[in-house]
Structures are given as C-alpha cells and as structure tokens.
Symmetry: C2
Subunit: 356 residues, 2 copies
Amino acid sequence: MVLLGSTGSIGVNALEIAKLFGIKVEALIAGRNIDLLNKQIEIHMPKTVVVEREEDVVKVNHSNVLYGKAAILKVIEESQSELIINSLVGFLGLRPTLKAIECGKRVALANKESLVACGAFIDTSKISPIDSEHFALWYLLQERPITKMTITASGGAFRDWPIEKLSHATLADTQRHPNWSMGQKITIDSATMVNKMFELLEARWLFGEGEYDAIIETKSLMHAVVDFKDGSSTAHFANANMQLPIAFAIDRNMQESILKPVNLAKVGSLEFRKIDVERYPVWQIKDELLAHPKRGVVINAANEVAIERFIAGEIGFMDIHTTILKAFALFVNEPQSVAEVFELDEEVRAFARVCL
Amino acid sequence: MVLLGSTGSIGVNALEIAKLFGIKVEALIAGRNIDLLNKQIEIHMPKTVVVEREEDVVKVNHSNVLYGKAAILKVIEESQSELIINSLVGFLGLRPTLKAIECGKRVALANKESLVACGAFIDTSKISPIDSEHFALWYLLQERPITKMTITASGGAFRDWPIEKLSHATLADTQRHPNWSMGQKITIDSATMVNKMFELLEARWLFGEGEYDAIIETKSLMHAVVDFKDGSSTAHFANANMQLPIAFAIDRNMQESILKPVNLAKVGSLEFRKIDVERYPVWQIKDELLAHPKRGVVINAANEVAIERFIAGEIGFMDIHTTILKAFALFVNEPQSVAEVFELDEEVRAFARVCL
C-alpha cells in the first residue's frame, strides 16, 4: 500500500493494521516529523519516501526520498499498490485522491476534504472511508428501507463552555478535546462542529440521497444510528480507536479481533444532546448544505482560511463561523466540474482572507 | 391465522397487525374476558371460538364455541391456517405449540414457557418469537462472527426499592412496572428477573450456543446488543410497543411503518445497570442454567407454583426466588424427551408446593 500522511494519528494506526494484516508498505508520505518517519522506515522498509520540504530530504534515512506535492502524485501514479491510504489534512489531499482513482486504485480515505469539496466528481465506489461514523453507518446498513442516518458528535472542546465566553477562546482552548487527541485542524473543526457537517456531506456522497443528521453523544462510544421504516433504529458502538475503521477500510471482509467491546454496564450512562445553533452557528446551514452538497467546497475553503487566520491571531474563534456563513451566503453557484471546484476554492479563499 | 390468547395484550396487538396486513382470523382462543372477545368476534368474524370455561360458552356471540384445553388442540389440528399465534400464559401454552409444529404450522410464539421448558425438543426453525428482545437480536444478526448477545431488562417494579424491603412486597407492589402495563404473571416475572432468565433461555434455543447476558436499561428503549468479534457492538432501539415484533413474527420481510422511531436527542440520556444478585437472587444460577438449558422446565415449574402461592398469600415475594433455587439445586437431571419434560414438570410442582 501507499500511505499518505504516515506520521499523523491515522497514519500511525494504519501502519499497526498493515503489520497485523501483513501488508507491504510501498511508499510513505509524511510532512515534517522526520524522527517518527525514520522509525517507520526502519520497520516497514518502503521503496519510496516523500516529505514536505526539500531541506528535510537529507535527514531521512532512505536512499529514495522525494519532496513536495508533485512528488506525491508521481509516487501514486508509479506505484504497484492497489490500495492508497490518504490521511492528508485539508484541501491539498484532494489531488492525490483524484489521481489515485484516475489510476484505478482503491482509496482508503481519511482526508475528509476530498469528498466535502469534490464529492460530486469522485467515484465513491472506489472509496472506503476511514472514519468511525461512516464505518458505523456502513456496518449498520441492511436491505431494509431506511428513513434516516444519524452520526454522533462529541461536541468538541467547548460543549460545556458558557456561550458568551466562546468568542474569547484561544487556540490552546480549542485543543482540549473532551474524549481524545487528534491533529490541530480537526480538533478545531470538532470545536466548531464543522467536522460533523463535513462528515454529513461525506455520508451524503457515500450513501446517496436521504435524510442525514447528527447529535451529540458525550462519551463518543456510539458512532451512528440508522432509523428504519418499520420503527426500529440500530446503533453502532465501539471504543474510540481508529484501528477499527482502518482495518475495515483496508479489508471490508476482515474478521479479526481489533478492539475490546464496549461494556455498557461499566459505561453506566449515555447522554445525548441536540446540536445547538447558538453554540455552533455553522449548524444553521446544515440542511441547506445537504440539499446542495456541491457547495461543500465553499464551506471548506472558507473554513481552511478562517482557521489559518484564527491560528495567526487575526480573527477570534467565533469568526470562523462568521467567515463560513458569509462565504456560504455569497457564493451560491454550484461547481459543474473538478476544474470549477478548484476555481471556486481559490475565489472563496481570496474572499475569506479579507471578509473580516 | 389462529390466535391463542386473543384478549391479552399480545392478542389485542396481534389483531391490530392482522387488520393492517389484511390477514383472515380463522379462530380466536380466549380465557375469561368474554366482553372483549365478543367485540373481537364482531370485527374479525372467526369461524371458531374457544373459551376457557364451559359456563362462558353461552355468553359468547358466536355459533361455534368450544371450551377447554382439548378444544384448543383440536382447533389447531383442524385449522386451515399456516400461522398460529400463541400468546397463552404459562406451561399450558406448551402443548398447543407442540401440536402446531406437529401439524406443520408456523408458530409466532409469545408463550415463553414453551421454549423455556421444552426448547430442546422443539424445531425452532418453525418458530418466530414475539418478544422485543428476540426480535431485536434477530434484527441485529449479520454474517459477521459474534462473540456475545445481550438483551436488556427494565429491572421491574423493584429496581429502585431498598433491598431489605423486598421480602415485604405485596402482589399490588409487583404490578407497578416502571415502563408499561402487561399481564399479572409476566409483571411478577419482571420484578423477580425470572422473565429475563426465560428470555435468555429462549435466545439460547433460537440462536444456538454462545455467550448470552442481560443488563438493565431503565427506559426500555434499547432491547438488545450484539457484540461482534471485531470490537463493534450494535444495538436495537424502538419504542416499547409489541406491534413491531408481532408484525415481523407474522411477516419476516414486512416493510411497513409500524412505529415512530426513537428520538435520542429527546430521550436525552440512557442508564445501564448490572443485574444484581442481591436484588434478583435467581440471577445467581443464570450461567449454570444456560450451560444446561434443558433444566429450564425445573425453573419454570417452580416459578409457576411459587407465583400461585405468592398470590394466595402463602409465601412472601422473595420466597419465589427461594423456591426456584431449592428446586434447581434438587432436580439436576435433564429431561431426554417431551414426555420426560411433562413428568419432571409434575415432580417439581409437587415439590414446590411444599418446599416452604
């Protein structure tokens, strides 16, 4: 397999599963964490390695090291592997996804932005999502008619904050996820609920038209609920560990024991909350967005720029919402091709950089 | 169809579903609630009616009324219907189940005691259980390897009582079920947790060898949980209404909308509790019983007699547990035939009448 984003939390877990399944790692693509990359090279002995910056090439203990975005596409194109795991963060993960599908490969996809921005133009039959929520929905699907699919949210770092304090939240505050540790950007997306809106959009592309919603489950043990026409609902529980969705993304028929099951008697209680638009203002456009899912690229571009500006200290935490809502109100056209997705992405970014 | 126990809560709901599905009712078998029976006759126009007592025959507005246990078996044998719904209460429901299967009919079975006492000698491929818990397990089954099946209990009338008060509980106290209203006997069985032990035994016969357990879920919205080898668990939710399992027991492929789905955001929270052997002493023999499920007849006979004696004021509420535990300790042989089931049933009843 080819692993994009090997030193992130998904990448590290993917390598554990690769070891368990005895899967050969053809190429490792990483960012700037060269220490961890070197350890991974020692264990998995890839043929090719790609890093982000030219200056890091010499630090990598490997004879075949490339750098930069173009190298990623080249490695995908020239690889023998049938499986590409894409756990890059952000819009820059889209081109590798498109390239992999163009080359006839199967993509185990943790890069949410690929489907959010460009789902209309991606053959999702080639995609296995790496995400607890989509895995859970997939696990729950049956032949019976479905009326609604619901995914769960932790509620993020600010679920219990007084709402009036939110505009003063710092970057450090956003990183205090209640249930686990992930990368910086996705932890901010979790605090704004943008992450959950992205997952609903992905679900829309993966599972087709239908009713989608999300609720908060504070312990992050329940990941999805499917309502069937007869009145039954089924829910998926698992301990929060990405190895489970990764294992199934790699092998849909796998029958290994990956995690210990959730023990509900020990858990004792579960709490569910509605997603409140005062705390998560971006949630007010959820239905409109799901009705026009091609507009996902607008949300994503506005969100990425707003997060950069928030990290740079240019705007406050709640301004991330404002930026997204302004962009969504202004850019109402739907892209009709991949090229238009990239154009619109640029336009929205230019707007988002100056709109506040 | 032929409906045994038409005036009980299952029977009433079964007739609603029969109306919905346009199923003809060939025979109604009821007990002593002649008023309700007469209303049912008017709506469903059965060819034959059976009541419990000879003296009630004249009160029934029908030209073909029989009475007594032998008449039930005769009606089953002579019926044209392929489907028998058996919602009789207690061990007396067993002979009709056996007769129906002998006649090649399919049995939608709400009579728990049939499988509890005689599961080893019943072809369960002919049985569709009418029970939220077994329906839920059936709904959740998948091709994937399973490690454990768990059903839920409400905890019954005494789940929140101080344990030291339990020995003084009255019949009226036992009938205060926290979540719904059912017949007298099953409500007592719910308070002792005998009902849940019966359901585990039934599950064992319906779904085969494996690990079975139960937990308390106080709102009775979650009915079963299946643990899969990979580490996933799936749970079945539905509003507590027997029309859902009845509809599927009648037609396994039905696709009607029977109930409104559970809205977890409105539910707000769920609470799970371990089943405590101090509060439910009979639970201490759960594993032993599941390892030797043919001994179910002992538990059932002791329970039926103990409940009669409790209702008659001869013994206290906690003596129901004591009677069952004494009988289970004394009668260790496993019946090897249907005839031996009926013999052992008699022996245990004789013991249970005098053991305290």
